[in-house]
């Protein structure tokens, strides 16, 4: 059974006259359309069609996990990190959630003419520190400089190679009714911190991005438990989008308990007045995990043993109905459908 998105989907009508908009990059429905209708059209192959965070490349002698990600974040320096830290930990995490030990990274820079060397050095230092912390080696790279006015200062692409942990097999095909859903901590921190840093709303908030590697946690879980079925990091598009990716076109659904979701008061204090929803905000130090119900409590204990992960919790389970959908059981006991991100999240006044 293939992970990923059914190509014969109702939105197969991308207008060729349309321009690319910001929606194509925000991780929501428009992003998925771009992938389905253009990238798969030109590049489709068995590995790519699975549309996982990393591609598993198998030969007789080895099982390699390969991924790539581009980092265009603004601002480049934000509370809790910078583009460099993100470029390493984000790609490490993409490898980790696919069950790999991250080994090597490539690193491509696109730098705007006039960018200050001092700033570049800060970013390189962040990358160095994160690489040392996680044990990955940056082994190859590239640099291009573009004219002033392009690249918002700096864009970084990192591609990562890791080795699949022995015996690990993750995928939607392993998911069963009754499996539990675990998140390793507070959601929405990165998204809220970045929006505030970028938009400069007239508010003050003591909140940092959760930008951090999670490979040490996933490695421990995979070494101690057999029941880990699938993991994914809820970056752009947030927790709601990734949960929908888990169930799309599958013979099961997911039910989430709103009361169990770990959300900081200040993220709620940010979201409520502006009309945002924490379930759609990006996270950069989190992963969602589908785990056998018999191992859920043990998994939680393992995660809790890592400093900074005390807020991890079981937030839902895999259910029989409705198939292919995510249901939220609300704070007041009712139910509603939780879709993936569609449209741009904009602050509303009404």
């Amino acid at each position: 059974m293939q992970l990923g998105l059914n190509i014969e989907n109702e939105f197969c009508d991308m207008n060729q006259k349309d321009r690319i908009t910001l929606l194509h990059g925000n991780g929501g429905l428009q992003s998925h359309r771009l992938i389905r209708e253009l990238y798969l059209k030109y590049f489709g192959n068995p590995q790519l069609n699975r549309l996982e965070d990393s591609a598993l490349l198998e030969s007789d002698s080895c099982r390699i996990v390969f991924t790539t990600d581009s980092y265009v974040i603004k601002p480049l320096f934000f509370p809790g990190g910078d583009i460099g830290k993100l470029a390493v930990s984000g790609t490490v995490n993409d490898l980790a959630v696919c069950g790999a030990i991250p080994n090597w990274l490539s690193c491509g820079f696109i730098i705007e003419e006039g960018f200050e060397i001092v700033a570049l050095e800060k970013i390189l230092n962040s990358m160095k520190e994160m690489a040392e912390f996680t044990g990955v080696k940056i082994v190859t790279g590239d640099t291009k400089v573009v004219e002033k006015g392009n690249a918002d200062g700096l864009y970084i692409n990192t591609s990562g190679i890791g080795t699949l942990i022995e015996g690990v097999e993750l995928g939607q095909h392993r998911i069963q009714i009754g499996d539990k859903i675990i998140i390793n901590g507070y959601i929405g921190d990165h998204g809220a911190a970045i929006i505030q840093a970028r938009e400069d709303f007239p508010i003050e908030m003591d909140l940092q991005s959760d930008c951090a590697p999670i490979d040490h946690i996933t490695r421990m879980l995979l070494s101690k438990l057999d029941g880990v079925k699938l993991m994914r990091d809820p970056t752009r598009g947030g927790v709601a989008t990734v949960l929908n990716e888990f169930v799309e076109n599958q013979a099961f659904g997911i039910q989430i308990e709103e009361i169990a979701l770990p959300i900081r008061d200040c993220v709620l204090g940010f979201c409520e007045p502006l009309g945002f929803d924490p379930l759609y905000l990006a996270n950069e130090g989190k992963f969602l995990m589908v785990i056998d119900t018999n191992e859920a409590v043990k998994a939680l204990e393992i995660i809790h043993s890592f400093p900074g992960s005390e807020s991890a919790d079981i937030v839902g389970e895999v259910v029989d109905e409705p198939k292919g959908k995510v249901i939220l059981k609300t704070l007041i006991g009712s139910h509603r459908i939780l879709d993936m991100l569609s449209g741009e999240m904009l602050p509303r006044i009404c």
């Binding site: 690319i20 429905l29 007041i332 009712s334 509603r336 569609s342 006044i349 009404c350």
Partner: protein, 362 residues
């Protein structure tokens, strides 16, 4: 813990009121209309319709300012944005509203300068920081928002600013509710009245609905406890055969509203006719900038021509806003018109009926 928010989401109290609603609900089918986008969102977000008996239907009326803003306004905003040295400042949702051909968001790719503001005062700040540019603020919203925009206009005037103006599409509630009732197309048993509009206007603007049309009205807050208590209050009024206006949102709405806010609003704005998307022109339902402040009226500053606007063929936003059709009745819903590519305004705003149906879906 969000003070004075979380307590109104208390599970036990909600369950208790839901039980009361089930106990006291009459046998007949009831239709209650809310005319506030915030209520539309809250009802869907908290799954309120699923908690109450099926015999009570909650209908969304024209309460989303983005949804009811006329297409010409969007076209005019886009045209202004293409003029040299113009910065368009706006609240978030207006960026995606489709005009006749395109939207501000789509035109961003072609290089126009559109900036999203949390507050109209952000727009004033942008004007001060860009003295060589003309800053146009898109004034949308009802009586809750108009006083804030009026304050900005007064401030600009007091400070003799030369490069700030407001393109007003502000609308007011009572006449639209009357137009709905006069259209005769929907039989309503009660109104869930907009809580924050009422903070400004006070409770008596709805008296005519209770007196002339014999429909009970309850002014409601926005948390689950508020909306459920409002529904219970409406049920009790229906059961007792009483038609009056009651205030559920007592912690925020005073009987006489906020006179200072109204005074500021009416110093800058005056009543005008207004075009409501899907409802047509409703007399006395809009706010335009008074002559005294015409230097801050975009329509006066720029030569704004009124060209007829084109709705997307098949769009039934009008019927949806009047509460006579549901989003699923629209042939465009979901397949052609969705939040990624909205064709009508009901889909564009996150509080629009179609967007909330798409997102929260019954």
């Amino acid at each position: 813990m969000l003070q004075y928010i979380d307590q109104f989401r208390n599970l036990e109290l909600v369950e208790f009121i839901v039980n009361k609603i089930h106990q006291e609900c009459p046998r007949q089918n009831l239709k209650f209309m809310e005319v506030c986008g915030g209520h539309t969102i809250a009802i869907f977000k908290f799954g309120i319709q699923k908690l109450i008996p099926d015999s009570i239907q909650l209908i969304s009326g024209p309460g989303c300012p983005v949804c009811v803003t006329e297409i010409e306004f969007i076209d005019q905003s886009i045209a202004l944005a293409h003029l040299p040295d113009v910065i368009i400042t706006t609240f978030g949702d207006m960026v995606r509203v489709p005009g006749s051909k395109t939207s501000l968001q789509k035109e961003r790719g072609a290089g126009i300068d559109v900036r999203i503001c949390y507050s109209v005062m952000d727009a004033l700040k942008i004007a001060k920081e860009n003295p060589q540019k003309e800053v146009v603020f898109l004034g949308i919203g009802f009586e809750t928002t108009a006083p804030t925009v009026a304050t900005a206009v007064k401030t600009a005037s007091d400070q003799s600013m030369r490069n700030f103006s407001v393109l007003s599409a502000h609308k007011t509630m009572p006449n639209a509710m009357q137009a709905l009732l006069d259209s005769g197309e929907i039989g309503l048993n009660g109104f869930i009245c907009p809580g924050h509009v009422s903070v400004i206007t006070g409770i008596h603007i709805y008296d005519f609905i209770a007196e002339k049309y014999r429909i009970p009205c309850v002014i409601s807050g926005f948390e689950p406890l508020d909306i459920l208590e409002t529904i219970l209050m409406l049920i009790r009024l229906v059961n007792d055969g009483i038609s009056k206006v009651e205030n559920q949102y007592t912690r925020s709405v005073k009987e006489n509203g906020n006179p200072k806010a109204r005074e500021i609003m009416l110093e800058v704005f005056e009543e005008s006719d207004s075009h409501w998307r899907g409802l047509g022109i409703i007399p006395g339902s809009g706010l335009q900038i008074k002559n005294k402040y015409r230097d801050f009226d975009t329509r006066y500053k720029f030569k704004i021509t009124r060209e007829p606007a084109i709705e997307y063929p098949g769009c039934i936003c009008g019927d949806i806003l009047r509460g006579v059709k549901n989003p699923v009745d629209c042939a465009l819903f979901s397949k052609i018109c969705n939040p990624e590519d909205p064709k009508g305004a009901c889909m564009v705003s996150s509080e629009g009926t179609c967007a909330t149906w798409f997102k929260y879906r019954k």
